[in-house]
């Protein structure tokens, strides 16, 4: 980084830029200075808006599709949707024991929704915040999955389903027995309780944090790449930094396309696996 006046101010500008991009549009109990959520009663409007909008997009597109479904000669988009459904149901069949009509739609929702929310990451980082600033909205975080609230919400929903089906399949007593006697038998009950508790709690936490971490880091890298063109490309230096930014951005974009798909897939598969574990009666 250059040692000039503009460079050093650009340094603090860099931090500001990143901070600004990582701040949600907060409504309610928010810090007036940093605009961060100060308490529990703070609503991240951007996260809610984009996730709900993408959910609505899914519903609208599928409603439009299923309205004129062609059962005999599928073509174009219907083929695409059918292959996604086939992919999901194959995964469910392969990893889920028994039969539960909720699992496949749940897995499909997780996969498509998470993928779409992740995909928001591939939209140029400054595009949507810039458009929002025209309407007087100064803070906007466009990727819902870089908000821990989203990922944790999904994983806690899955966790709730895990508990519900565990109790439903194993019975309340069976579920309790799993905590008491699970890894080491009946002579180490306290250890068992701690171990199983950690094991169970690790499921939603790892599910949420894995997705959040990957997407947050990906977003950060996009921001850093954007900074190359934004702060360093001044005057003649732009001839060097600007092409570098383009190349790096393209590279990370392609790599990230893989990551968002992979993360959506992992979230889906782990959801199926955890719920499958909840459905197996471990009386052996």
């Amino acid at each position: 980084m250059s040692a000039t006046e503009s460079g050093s101010s650009g340094g603090s500008g860099t931090v500001e830029y990143i901070q600004h991009h990582l701040t949600n549009l907060c409504v309610g109990d928010c810090d007036p200075v940093t605009h961060k959520a100060a308490g529990f009663w703070a609503l991240h409007v951007d996260t809610l808006f984009f996730s709900v909008a993408l959910g609505a997009l899914i519903i609208a597109v599928s409603w439009n599709l299923t309205r004129n479904l062609n059962p005999d000669t599928p073509s174009g988009f219907q083929n695409f949707v059918e292959s996604i459904l086939d992919f999901v149901s194959t995964n469910v069949r392969d990893t889920f024991p028994g039969h539960n009509p909720l699992i496949a739609p749940l897995a499909l929702t997780v996969f498509v929704w998470v993928w779409l929310m992740n995909f928001m990451d591939l939209i140029p980082v400054d595009l949507l915040p810039a458009i929002a600033s025209w309407f007087g909205i100064n803070y906007l975080k466009v990727v819902p999955t870089t908000d821990l609230n989203t990922t944790l919400a999904m994983s806690l929903t899955v966790f709730g389903l895990i508990i519900y089906y565990s109790i439903k399949v194993k019975g309340a007593a069976g579920y309790l027995k799993m905590f008491l006697f699970h890894p080491f038998g009946k002579f180490l009950v306290p250890v068992n309780v701690v171990m199983t508790l950690i094991e169970e709690l690790a499921k939603p936490l790892s599910l949420a944090l894995r997705l959040f971490g990957n997407l947050f880091a990906g977003e950060l890298v996009f921001l850093l790449i954007a900074l190359i063109g934004g702060t360093l490309a001044v005057g003649a230096a732009a001839l060097f930094w600007f092409p570098l930014q383009v190349v790096l951005d393209l590279g990370w974009l392609i790599f990230h396309l893989l990551i968002i798909t992979l993360q959506a897939f992992i979230f889906m598969v782990l959801t199926i696996v955890y719920l499958g574990m909840a459905h197996t009666d471990e009386d052996h």
Partner: protein
């Protein structure tokens, strides 16, 4: 990255989305896919059945044709036999008729000959009587010599 009330908003959104996806996308499309699978299976089964049916029909047609051919051969043979029989019968009839005609003709001839002979005999008797008359220069009593004359006639 504070946990805020947005978490619950997201939970509600997620649950609603699952419900909607199940309702709008998963249910109709997977039902359609199942229907299609069933229809394809049915179609294949029907095709297989049709193939079997065709094979059977072909076999049946072949058998029928073969039977018809055999029967036709039999009928022809029978007809030929019957024809030869008829010809044989006709021949037989003709032969008997010919024989009959021949016999009738023969008996007619015999009858004619006999009649001629009778006539001739009578004439000869007459001539003989006339000759004898002339020889004896007297009347022969036909009545008195009737026996003799008759004997004479039969001898001629």
């Amino acid at each position: 990255m504070n946990i805020t009330v947005s978490l619950f908003g997201q939970v509600i959104a997620f649950v609603l989305l699952i419900w909607f996806v199940n309702r709008v996308l998963w249910d109709p499309v997977s039902k359609m896919l199942e229907d299609r699978q069933k229809r394809i299976a049915d179609g294949l089964a029907a095709g297989e059945k049709g193939k079997h049916e065709l094979e059977r029909a072909k076999k049946l047609a072949k058998e029928t044709l073969h039977e018809a051919k055999t029967k036709a051969g039999e009928i022809i043979a029978q007809a030929e036999k019957r024809a030869s029989e008829i010809v044989e019968e006709a021949k037989q009839d003709a032969r008997t008729e010919g024989d009959r005609l021949l016999a009738a003709a023969n008996s007619e001839i015999d009858r004619e000959v006999n009649r001629a002979r009778e006539t001739l005999r009578g004439q000869v008797a007459d001539i003989t009587v006339a000759g004898a008359k002339r020889i004896l220069k007297r009347e022969i009593d036909a009545k008195a010599h009737e026996d003799l004359l008759k004997e004479l006639v039969t001898q001629i």
